[in-house]
């Protein structure tokens, strides 16, 4: 089960762990193909060139495997898709809920994944 975006996809929890442990900086957008999620995927695609030191991925929210993000303590108060999570050296350093602007995302990338 993968999303129909042009990003790299994470399908399983094992793959999620592999990605965050094999890359220093990772941003994952966990969502559906809905109106709050698509703009975030779109911004991530735009930023891939500008932030070559960050690995950008998506993950389908409805996959049982996405429990690794859905159940993260940092996402416990979230009630809006997508759940977007940022990892530095395998550690979750920031999480956001619902649609975000490019300015909000770049601000997090610059602050947390520099």
């Amino acid at each position: 089960m993968v999303l129909g975006t042009n990003l790299k996809h994470i399908a399983t929890a094992a793959q999620h762990n592999e990605v965050i442990n094999n890359n220093e900086n990772v941003m994952i957008c966990c969502g559906r193909m809905g109106p709050m999620c698509i703009p975030v995927y779109d911004i991530m695609e735009d930023l891939e060139e500008e932030y070559p030191h960050v690995a950008f991925y998506d993950m389908p929210f409805d996959s049982p495997e996405a429990h690794v993000i859905r159940n993260a303590p940092e996402c416990s108060s979230f009630m809006g898709l997508p759940f977007t999570v940022y990892y530095k050296n395998g550690k979750l350093v920031k999480a956001t809920s619902s649609i975000q602007s490019k300015a909000q995302i770049t601000s997090i990338l610059n602050e947390k994944l520099a």
Binding site: G34, P35, M36, Y41, D42, F78, M79, G80, A103
Partner: protein, 305 residues
């Protein structure tokens, strides 16, 4: 940097304008504050775009963007337009308070967006109890009490759809009547999980980690009461994204850009296309047609100079 034509907006009208203008050998810049594709990307499946049996709005926007780039358009997305000058022979825009671009002609294809309440706490609790999409976020509210704000078809229909999850849905609307179709009103009124709070509006969202309460003003009496609530869904309509052009180009009372039959605004060399202009029909096909007309007239305009 100088261009022949700058296009503001990268929805179907803006991208089509870019394709046509660039194919006519104009040097084109497309700038966009939101997502490429505009409202089109939010359409799950498009089945009435001639020549394409079925495609997602997301994929169609990707194809249009690729076409525009292939024909030579420069595209800058996710930018903030910090200054715009549309008068005189040389038009200019400034983005992100740092880069300025000039052009002989401008096409405004800035589209529209969902209206927000603009009250205290709305930005803070977005995704933490405030949502603009029932199908996206409805299932977070299983057996909880929620509010739907609005009185049009979207609000009424989404309120009914949210009763699949929520234990109770309160529709808050500022008027004493609804703007939706009668069948949508009847369906909402017949639903035992839905109740109504008319002539009222939310004035503040309260909570710590997420929304816990809202302050609701009774518009008849001015009285403000607090309501405990798990979530609020906002469906209060769609507005053209033209605020920044107010006082520069002529808009009607709804903020739509007034154009002539060539899609030219009251400023010479400034054209408008798609959902931002006065029109009764807002479809991808009409946006694409507008983009075509605006681009060809803009090319005529710069060639006459």
């Amino acid at each position: 940097m100088n261009y022949d034509i700058i296009i503001i907006g990268a929805g179907p009208s803006g991208l089509t304008a870019g394709i046509y203008a660039a194919r006519a050998k104009a040097k084109v810049l497309i700038v966009n504050e939101g997502s490429v594709g505009g409202q089109m990307v939010l359409t799950h499946q498009i089945e009435n775009y001639p020549g394409v049996e079925s495609i997602s709005g997301y994929q169609l926007s990707k194809i249009m963007r690729k076409q525009a780039k292939t024909f030579g358009c420069d595209i800058k997305t996710g930018v903030e337009l910090t200054k715009i000058s549309l008068e005189g022979d040389v038009k200019s825009i400034e983005i992100d308070s740092k880069e300025t671009f000039t052009a002989k002609s401008i096409i405004i294809a800035s589209g529209g967006r969902s209206r927000s309440l603009n009250v205290k706490g709305e930005n803070e609790f977005k995704g933490r109890g405030i949502s603009y999409c029932a199908t996206c976020d409805g299932d977070f509210y299983q057996n909880m009490e929620i509010i739907v704000v609005g009185g049009g078809n979207s609000a009424l229909e989404e309120a009914v759809s949210l009763t699949k999850y929520a234990s109770k849905v309160t529709i808050i609307h500022q008027f004493d009547h609804f703007q939706g179709y009668q069948h949508a009103i009847d369906e909402a009124k017949a639903n035992p999980k839905i109740n109504f709070l008319l002539e009222s509006k939310i004035v503040e969202f309260l909570g710590t980690e997420k929304v816990e309460k809202v302050k609701v003003e009774n518009l008849k009496t001015g009285e403000i009461n607090e309501m405990s609530i798990a979530g609020v869904f906002i469906f209060i309509g769609y507005v053209p994204q033209t605020e920044r052009f107010k006082g520069i180009i002529e808009l009607n009372q709804w903020g739509e850009i007034i154009v002539d039959e060539n899609l030219q605004t009251n400023q010479k060399g400034v054209f408008a296309a798609g959902d931002a202009r006065v029109t009764r029909t807002r479809q991808i096909t009409t946006a694409v047609a507008d983009g075509t007309v605006a681009a060809l007239r803009a090319v005529d305009f710069i060639n006459q100079k």
